[in-house]
């Protein structure tokens, strides 16, 4: 086998009559920060949920770090869901305990350090957090694992620009050559400089997978501009 971190072949997923993913094939190598870019309802979240084993595909192959989604892949994949999933009564410190039990690669000092930097008290309850603070807490948990594959579903949608910069810094400083980060978003201009690859997805089809510098060189425009052009709404 080659050195692919993720191998996806002929993947299909339907929700009743809607085809969420239609014959998707995609290979991702380690050591990249990849943007999964598409408009609402294009299949981004479905693809990410299949990669982390929350959804089962109707047909097709998914191999991550040499195995199909299961206990092994869950130990090497760190997932940031598109909405926070922790119980209201929990304090972020409780969740650290939980993560320490569940994931051997969870780096607690790192998580606590990030909380400090973002001024989130460890004993604050989820219930009392603002939407943005919840999202930041979730991101801290996700990025405090030493995973091979990070799946970030809309990590920047709900936070202010300063926190956005912090998130980007966190992703960059956490970068390691063996791991890859897949970030789904439609807010491309905010993260464009951090990406070295882009995957465009439309109606469940992957329509483009290339390095971001190739795109800029070939098109003479930013990835954001190309995206807006390709996905312009027509009436």
């Amino acid at each position: 086998m080659s050195n692919e971190l993720v191998h996806i072949a002929n993947l299909n997923k339907n929700y009743s009559v809607v085809k969420a993913l239609d014959d998707v094939s995609l290979d991702l190598e380690p050591g990249h920060i990849i943007g999964l870019l598409g408009p609402n309802g294009s299949g981004k979240t479905t693809l990410i949920k299949i990669l982390n084993g929350l959804l089962r595909p109707d047909s097709g192959t998914v191999v991550i770090d040499g195995e199909a989604p299961g206990p092994h892949t869950k130990s090497v994949v760190s997932y940031l869901p598109d909405r926070p999933y922790f119980a209201d009564w929990m304090k972020i410190g409780n969740i650290f305990d939980l993560f320490e039990d569940f994931y051997t690669d969870f780096d607690r000092p790192r998580a606590e350090y990030m909380c400090q930097t973002l001024h989130i008290p460890i004993d604050m309850k989820m219930k009392n957090m603002s939407k943005g603070t919840k999202e930041k807490s979730q991101l801290i948990l996700t990025m405090s694992r030493k995973a091979k594959l990070y799946l970030l579903d809309e990590p920047i949608a709900g936070v202010d620009p300063a926190a956005r910069d912090f998130i980007m810094d966190t992703i960059l400083s956490n970068y390691n050559p063996e791991g890859s980060v897949l970030i789904s978003t439609h807010l491309i201009s905010d993260i464009e400089q951090v990406l070295d690859q882009a995957v465009f997805i439309r109606n469940g089809h992957v329509i483009l997978h290339d390095s971001t510098d190739n795109i800029r060189e070939r098109e003479g425009k930013s990835v954001d501009e190309l995206f807006r052009e390709m996905f312009r709404m027509t009436y």
Binding site: G31, D169, L172, S173, S189, Q193, D213, R216, E217
Partner: protein, 122 residues
Amino acid sequence: MEWKLAGDRPIWLQLKEQITQRILTGVYPMGSRLPTVRDLAAEAGVNPNTMQRALAELENDGLAVTNRTAGRLVTTDVSVVEKVRDALASKCIMTFYEGMAQLGYDWTEAGRKLEEAKEDVQ
């Protein structure tokens, strides 16, 4: 010194130009060790692979050399630096004359304008 990156050109190219400038102006002195790819990438807020490419291109130009033990150093070869400086200066001058040509000045007139401007500044 701030990194300035535009969206419509390859990022690695812009990084390379700006590191070159830093070498020419002595921000990174000759023979000194360049920051690591990781640190540079974090500073510029770009992907480490992109920064890696910029530095590799810099090595192609001879402005940087990788030393097995000391990391990546700015060249100590004055002739390489001067060659790059010359090439960039020529480009700068051409841009000036092309701009003046678009305003209807020929080379001689453009040169005279340049002299006048110098006197004004002094």
